[in-house]
Amino acid sequence: MGNKTALHQWHCDNNAKLVDFSNWDMPINYGSQLQEHHAVRQAAGMFDVSHMTVVDITGDDATVYLQKLLANDVARIAQVPGKALYSAMLNEHGGVLDDLIVYRTEHGYRTVVNCATRAQDLSWLQQHSSGFDVVIRERDELAMIAVQGPQAIERVKQVVDTAAAAVIAQCDVFFSATVDEVFFARTGYTGEDGLEIILPSSQAVVLWEALFANGVVPCGLGARDTLRLEAGMNLYGHEMDETVSPLVANMAWTIAWAPETRDFIGRSAIESQRSAGVDTQLVGLVMEAKGVLRAGQSVVLPGASAGRGEITSGTFSPTLGKSIAMARVPAGIGDYCDVEIRHKRIRVNVVKPCFVRNGRSLID
């Protein structure tokens, strides 16, 4: 019996299979996660992601505070209302405490952090706010609905009022805007176009039902995982955790090294790693043989070196019709390796860790 979102009753009434996710009762699917996945790639699907943690940061020192807390630099968005930024938040050892998106809002910044890391993130944010003129406010009275797919934005525009539809029409990718009490962000976790909508919980059911009546397919956490893995997106707790450097989690591009005078938490640790060089990397794997790659399976490199690695996330890719994975392996790996599955070694191809974009395979 975990926490319930504003849409919980709707899920129960609509054939959702509910599971515990970090002490929240969430739908894993409403019948077929494969069909839900295809709906997002081909049309429009929606996810109740109200379990995520929304934290608003305001005050005169909001910018300099986040410049210290985050490995990416909010100065990149400070002068650009609505703009979004993807960042890691590191500890002093350069390990990833969380990955998050931060949006420039009218009065400061809005961050959306993971559900599983909520308590430690909030504690960390508070702990490191001393000396800064900031107000940190968790917005747990808000719900969040992600609508994703090539038709997603159109379907949302058709159910909101004309003012909101006009604002959405103007919203560029990786930007956000607020209309009355509803926050629209053109961001997502699927590799498709779409919106993430943050709104008062009291309004969530009405919007969800309107979208449902307009043909948007409800999708659960099962489809959410196959979509994000196809899109090459990390899942905290799998590709990285607080013991893992962003430099070995395909997150080096999110680090704003310049200006060198910006001393963010974890900077010196990852600078040392960068100078020394890293000896592992995160790659993509594709298996042509029947079967499903799964997190925790061992990777064996060909040749005398017999280096080993481990799968961080694996699944069946509905779009590709074969299994894909992300794996942490020795640097310099070639085009193929073997994965140990139930006492057999199966050959797999090594690819860049991004498999599908805008509904199309990147690996054929």
């Binding site: 894993i28 699917n29 077929s32 996660q33 494969l34 099962g222 196959t226 029947k290 079967g291 499903v292 699944t315 069946f316 139930r342």
Partner: protein, 128 residues
């Protein structure tokens, strides 16, 4: 509530066995099993002419969520496999007792099924 068919025999590992009119046995997985597994993406069946023993692991069913071993309810020789499962494994989800059958065997000793569960026995087992 998952469907349990009265005319079938069952293993507690969620396989069903149907004795056909000609004395051969058709084997598959139950409605309860397909529901627990979720969307099925691969079924690995034994090859034709394989001789299997009751209780032996003879097949694998793989869903997005998990891989599950399938055990033989009776001994015998495999003479047919459901080729539709190659391209449409989801048939197991939509029709676990009919179109979603896995393989058929010529049993060597039908009395082995006496120790398998009846429909009531299986229903009770999955209620726990």
């Amino acid at each position: 509530m998952s469907e349990v068919r009265s005319e079938l025999k069952y293993l507690s590992s969620h396989e069903w066995a149907r004795v056909e009119e000609d004395g051969t046995v058709t084997i598959g997985i139950t409605d309860h099993a397909q529901d627990s597994l979720g969307d099925i993406v691969y079924v690995e069946t034994p090859e034709i002419n394989t001789v299997i023993a009751a209780g032996e692991q003879v097949a694998v069913v793989e869903s997005v969520k998990a891989a599950s071993d399938i055990y033989a309810p009776v001994s015998g020789e495999v003479f047919a496999i459901n080729e539709s499962l190659e391209d449409e494994p989801e048939i197991v989800n939509s029709s676990p007792y009919d179109d979603g059958w896995f393989f058929k065997i010529k049993p060597s000793d039908l009395s082995e099924l006496d120790s398998a569960l009846s429909a009531d026995g299986y229903s009770a087992a999955i209620e726990d």
